[in-house]
Amino acid sequence: MVDKGSFDNAAQVNPDVIPLPTNSLVVDLDGYEGPLDVLLVLARDQKVDLLKISILELAEQFMQFVEQVQKLKLEVAADYLVMAAWLAYLKSRLLLPAQEDEGPTGEELADRLAFQLRKLEAMRGAVEKMMNGTIVGRDQLRRGQPEGVRIIRHSKYECSLRDLLQAYADQKTRKGITNPLRLMRDAIFSVEAALERLEKMLGKLPEWTDLMSFLPENLTDPFRHRSAQASTLLAGLQMAKEGQLELRQSNAFGPIEVKKRKSGK
């Protein structure tokens, strides 16, 4: 029977392990890192070199441990139960006379278990030594405010001739379809141009003349033609406002006629 004392000892050996409280309703198995951990704690209680532990005794202690836990808490993690079952099997192998061609003997299995416990113990020791060793940032400090190395970046651009041509073609294409600003500039007949033309031509035509006859000739593009019509009308209105000419329209949608205003009138 595992007595309370052995667990207290375990707690001393390994302070991280939460001791098994014998009179509590909840047993904190989380305090142990798995069945092997429990075995290691139990083995340490034997206070002998791990090479010399009695696996049989250990198996017995473990099974009692699980029993005890089960009494207090219904559910015990499966790996503890697997370990208990395996130890029961190991115990039987150790106690029963060895039989031929039945796999490893009980002694071999016991050796392997002992070896595994040593491995785990070795790693536990390693953790301790690692944490007690020199840790940079704790025991040896780096420079508090290193200047650092400034990196001056030189950009090298990746761009092939094809990229370049594609870009040019793309923008040309795009412009052909959707660039109204550019088109307006070239396609429209500006008010300024209409004003200039009207001013130049007006002197030559002293009588009432259809405003549309002042439009530039050879306007094949209908868009440009309409633009010229609009601009010339605007130019005419502008000049009428300035008192340079007179405008008249005899009926709705009829032709708009223009005449130079006589000076001094």
Partner: protein
């Protein structure tokens, strides 16, 4: 004045590990009682005087700093490969095809304003250069491409750039410009002769 060497070591470690310059009072508080701070700092400063790092006093506080004559070592030059933005590529193409060309003309051709960075990228790449000034009001600067541009794109001469028709034939121009504006499509190439009389900068 004799200085306790251990105090010098301690001050050295403190100054090294500190995340900010330390004043004398702070150092005194950290060193054993009775340490002669002035002597310790004087010793350290002397010891590091000709080294790669020096003990320096800044605004009344002490810190180790790289020796001024070695600060150039702390600058690393690194080349990074970057892709050009679409705006930069188009601008470059327009400059290549239309040079000499002013900024306003580039904007007019692209139909959008040019952000400051776009030209910078092209200058940075070493692909464009100012060429001269237009003899028009405001005398705007004209731009052209550089020798580096030709080298980068493997061209002997700017005239080797494929023309508009060739671009179309090569399938780079997928959309036929609409008939209404067909006469304008060719206008860009004519623009080149707008003002051959540019001054050299």
């Amino acid at each position: 004045m004799t200085v306790e060497p251990e105090h010098v070591r301690m001050a050295e470690a403190l100054l090294f590990a500190a995340t900010e310059p330390l004043d004398e009072a702070t150092l005194a508080a950290r060193l054993p009682d009775g340490a002669d701070i002035d002597a310790v700092l004087g010793t350290l400063q002397e010891q590091y005087k000709h080294r790669g790092v020096n003990l320096t006093r800044l605004a009344g506080k002490w810190t180790f700093l790289t020796a001024p004559d070695l600060s150039w070592m702390l600058e690393e030059e690194r080349e990074t490969t970057r892709r050009m933005s679409r705006a930069a590529l188009e601008t470059l193409a327009i400059i290549a095809y239309h040079q000499p060309v002013t900024r306003t003309e580039v904007e007019e051709i692209r139909g959008v304003g040019l952000s400051r960075g776009t030209m910078d990228v092209l200058f940075d790449a070493g692909w464009i250069r100012p060429r001269g000034r237009r003899r028009t009001p405001g005398r705007p600067v004209t731009y052209g491409i550089t020798e580096e541009f030709l080298i980068h794109f493997g061209l002997d001469d700017i005239k080797d750039l494929p023309g508009f028709d060739e671009l179309k034939a090569a399938g780079l121009l997928e959309t036929e410009p609409s008939g209404l504006f067909r006469d304008l499509a060719g206008a860009d190439t004519e623009d080149k002769e707008i003002d051959p009389e540019e001054e050299e900068l």
